[in-house]
């Protein structure tokens, strides 16, 4: 059994930023465990630009952004072990991992940072009829094939879901010589950024079919085509008679991301049904003492900059915990999702909060000329105007300790949107 002060699970941007900030705070006994061959997480395959505008004030590609943190980890000499998969965590922080090199290993950690990222919703969760033919991939898998392995998933492509990964793959596949027939979205609005819709679809004349879905899949061995139908925007049910057949050999799914929390559950960490990630307090500490969570395993982020910022906090707090300097919060207020708000993080804020913190959430729908409000108990403590809120873009709010003074008897904090749904 090896003793480690801070054990970080996952070597993506979250794990890297946590390691760097823990080191800079003074921690020396840190270890990063990563199941893939290299550090960098999902960024290794995101070769498009658009990363790091907040952090570095320039637009980097995924590998470039990751390298900045990898370089720091190397410079500080923070140990990392790749090709190592963590398979168990106990509530008393014993971590089991397997690797080809060392076989089964056990670590006893004073503090653990969960930074395992998320995975894509697969076909199985869609319940579309048809054979289990080849040619159906999640957009991220296709991205891994093209960008890391130099392989081409197919030639005539349809995309289901309009998440950013799907949009970006529409452009990548076009660049690689494939024909992308359409991008099909169930909702009446896209989950992707405007910028990606313009620069990945409009630029190449790829239609975005809103309020449409795939109702049938043809092909036994290999995908031969898919049937697309319009849906009623209210019930989201296909409208009979609107079916259209698209001949294609590839269907890419970009229908959502799920935080990868199997390990967290083993450790006894309480999972929030709203985010599918851990419930945390303002220190990003989970319900298990000394276990922290950050990045996409905590809640799905749209910008890696927010991941790095959040994870840096987890790193510092994990070190404070190891030093016995992290105040225990006996009394916390629950953060409640009000109208239009889903998955606000953190879920608990200490009554003794002494520094400003950030609350993040995703709007439930598209709201124009909206206001985001924070209520402490039944007293409104803050509001922030926004011309538009969409589910594709996370909202960040500052929460300062002064807000708590507005209502000393409050039993909860509510985050809510005031607007008309458009």
């Amino acid at each position: 059994m090896r003793n480690v002060d801070i054990l970080i699970i996952g070597g993506g941007p979250a794990g890297l930023a946590a390691a760097v900030s823990a080191y800079e705070a003074g921690a020396r006994n840190i270890l990063i465990l990563e199941r893939e061959e290299n550090l960098g997480g999902i960024l290794k395959q995101c070769i498009h630009n658009g990363f790091g505008l907040h952090t570095f004030k320039e637009e980097l590609t995924g590998p470039e952004y990751a390298q900045r943190y990898i370089d720091k980890v190397l410079e500080y000499g923070i140990p990392s072990q790749c090709d190592t998969m963590v398979i168990n965590i106990t509530p008393d922080k014993v971590v089991t991992a397997v690797s080809r090199g060392a076989g089964l290993e056990h670590f006893k950690a004073k503090s653990i940072i969960l930074a395992m990222g998320c995975r894509e919703r697969p076909r199985g969760s869609l319940a579309t009829p048809g054979w289990r033919c080849s040619g159906i991939y999640t957009a991220g898998t296709a991205q891994k094939f093209t960008n890391l392995k130099g392989l081409m998933p197919g030639r005539r492509v349809l995309i289901l879901g309009s998440g950013d990964i799907g949009l970006i793959m529409a452009r990548r596949m076009t660049f690689l010589g494939a024909k992308v027939l359409a991008c099909v979205e169930l909702m009446p609005f896209s989950a992707g950024l405007k910028r990606n819709i313009v620069q990945c679809l409009d630029d190449y004349g790829i239609p975005l079919l809103l309020s449409h879905t795939v109702v049938d899949i043809a092909g036994r061995e290999r995908l031969e085509g898919v049937t697309v139908a319009k849906v009623d925007p209210k019930t989201l049910k296909p409208i009979p008679g609107t079916e259209e057949y698209y001949e294609c050999d590839t269907l890419l799914l970009s229908v959502g991301l799920i935080p990868e929390n199997e390990l967290s559950t083993m450790a006894g960490v309480k999972i929030s049904p709203a985010t599918n990630g851990a419930e945390v307090n303002e220190n990003l500490q989970t319900s298990v003492d000394g276990i922290f969570s950050c990045g996409n395993v905590l809640h799905v982020h749209d910008l890696v900059d927010f991941v790095s910022e959040e994870s840096a906090k987890a790193g510092v707090n994990a070190y404070k915990y190891v030093q016995g300097q992290l105040a225990e919060d006996e009394e916390t207020l629950e953060v409640v999702n009000g109208f239009g708000v889903s998955g606000a993080v953190p879920q608990h804020i200490s009554k003794k909060l002494d520094e400003p913190i950030t609350i993040m959430f995703r709007p439930r729908g598209v709201y124009k000329d909206a206001k985001v409000c924070i209520d402490v108990g039944d007293v409104q403590a803050a509001e922030k105007k926004s011309r538009i809120l969409t589910p594709g873009e996370m909202v960040t709010l500052k929460f300062t300790p002064e807000y708590l003074r507005k209502n000393a008897n409050a039993d909860k904090i509510t985050v809510r949107v005031e607007a008309q749904q458009s």
């Binding site: 630009n49 590609t61 390298q67 960008n147 890391l148 130099g150």
Partner: protein, 117 residues
């Protein structure tokens, strides 16, 4: 001629309608702030894009990720991709290394975005 563009300045995604005559912009409507106006003017006169792509590397099937050193004229995207696909590079390669100078006769270079030992 009437041209329609979607502003990417913020999630509002304003629909901007412009009347153009060749290179001349006769009118622009539909933007709600100056970011949109400026964006539309650029898009109507000389639209540019960053291009990211993959390049072959000798001795491996795994590609190298590359990008344009700055945005390139939109009309040259596919020529630029063709030129990139004609190149094969040797390791080691470092981030920022220039792999193609003046791609397609533009002042733009193609540079590496990945470390390859």
């Amino acid at each position: 001629m009437i041209k329609e563009i979607t502003c990417i300045g913020c999630p509002m995604g304003c629909r901007i309608t412009a009347e153009v005559d060749g290179d001349r912009i006769l009118s622009i409507e539909g933007y709600t702030c100056n970011i949109g106006k400026k964006y539309a003017q650029e898009e109507l006169t000389l639209p540019t894009r960053m291009v990211t792509a993959l390049m072959k590397v000798y001795g491996t099937t795994q590609p190298l990720s590359v990008k344009t050193s700055r945005p390139i004229e939109k009309s040259k995207i596919f020529d630029c991709l063709k030129e990139i696909s004609r190149h094969t590079v040797m390791r080691p390669i470092h981030i920022g290394e220039v792999l193609i100078k003046n791609v397609c006769g533009t002042p733009v270079d193609i540079i590496a975005t990945k470390e390859l030992e």
